[in-house]
Amino acid sequence: MSTTTKLDLTDAAPAKPEKARPRRSLRANSTLNFWLFTSPFLIGLVIFVFVPMGWSIYLSFFEARFTVSPSEFIGLDNYKAILDNPDFTGSLVTFTVFAAFIVPTTWALSLGLALLVHRLTFMKAFFRSVFFIPTAVSYVAAALIWKMSIFNGVRFGLANTVIGWFGVENTAWLANPDPPWYWLVIVTLRLWLQAGFYMILFLAALQNIPAELYEAASIDGAKPGWQTFRYITLPQLRATSTAVILLLLIAAYQAFDEFWNLLGKATWGQPPLVELYKTALGESQDYGQGSAGAVILTVLILIITLFQGKIMGFGRGEESK
């Protein structure tokens, strides 16, 4: 139908709507298809992400103990209570210390491993696999190995066996916050589990650096090694580094599994999520206060993520790709 009218160019007036109609129906068709493709996901997203978030904000202004239905409006009391709770505020400090340890160390280790593996001429795939494979292990399983075999506070633990060879006394790695050896346990566990994954990202980025850059640098007299690393490799990895740091920070926020399993009953070294779990699902079952905590945490994360994105220019590298 439209094909016949399309050829009729003599009469401008009726041609216009005729031309527009197929385009509009095409657009309507794609709009319908857009929603057909995306609505299963979007509806789920609304029900299981947006609604709980909204409900949580609502609940945080109410008294809600042992029940998920709010009973009494109490304004900001939940916020006051959880901010007065030294365990919760302490957990924010714990997170800060944890992030300050884990983000730079994982960044450095995964970049280091990537540089090593990248330069290998044979057995490259083998070594890449060795470093990557811990990614398959769960935090729970790793916590189990760390707690019961490596950093066991008794003689037969690997760490104590090894330091024993040098005549050092047994150390209670997890059972004592002073000195805080538990940080060593937690940081090494996470390094082992996640360094290989970020190594892959760095490896991919290293492969994308044009060889001509190094050739040009060597003509200009740059010594291979520190100089080329400092002035070529590192700047070329900027976009990847930014993404890695952001992902590491987000992953650090989500820390729960290994803390829960390594330090379950301890009163020290608890990250925010463990505290929230204890508040909302522990003995007190205070969903109101737990929700207030979740809101505070979300706001903090948003601020830090946006701030970090701003300074590091997250996404800028993506545009130029």
Binding site: F41, S56, V130, P134, S149, A243, L306
Partner: protein, 291 residues
Amino acid sequence: MTTTAPDVTKTPRKKRGGKVIGNTGLYIATGVAALLFLVPFYLIVRNALMTDPEITGEDWKWFPTDIQWGNITEPFNDETVDFGRALWNSWVVAVLHTSGILLICSLAGYGLARIPYRHANKVFYGVLVTLMIPTAVTFVPSFVLVSSLGWVDTYRGLIIPGLFSGFTCFLFRQYFLGFPKELEEAARVDGLSYWGAYWRVVVPNSLNFFAAMATITFISGWNSFLWPLVIGQDPSSWTIQVALSSYMTNQTVNYHLIFMATAISILPLLLVFLFLQRWLVQGIAQTGIKG
């Protein structure tokens, strides 16, 4: 290494010699790091195949004197934790989680990337917002919702809330943006609908990416702990990770059993990893990012 020949290469002899030494050093450094990375795996196997007195003995033993193959069945015979049931639960959850996520998120990612719609960007920002909120922070409100639906201790509760991953949708969108447009256009000209083009052209040509995403999703499903811990209040709905965790809080510590259970929980993923390694690495490199 036979660089003494009087060829006029740009590399002077000194430099080559340095390269050999550099290479040896490189391999030593990589090798040492690799050994350190393998120690935890070795410890699992060692402890799983030893007797408790040997594990806790005074003298450190790198190898069991007598390999206890009988330990393999022990987690399954343990009375305190239904290990077989937990394995089955994990299997069901991980498989359904993976297939559900791949279906729902790939469709949405395709729609966002390729189907023209005036407000597509606004919708996409709505998805991006959820990326900023770490999913783990939402577990309190999600639990509130799921428990009011009566889904605690059910497969539904374990699986459905996790299907709507903004991140996976985002990755699929990024991937489809880079998918060669010509292929689809040809299909559309041939009269296929969006739906037809998607299933007959786009998906069959994206199997590598789908495989990589499937592996990553399966691993995260199998390894997830916080949500199954929250939802699995009754031991019959425990997943393998919750079961493993419960061993740590048990009053009697049965070392070889715990490590055998750990080994069994890791083995399927290790196999998947070793076989799909190439795809996986490519997929991760392709997506650029994945947390």
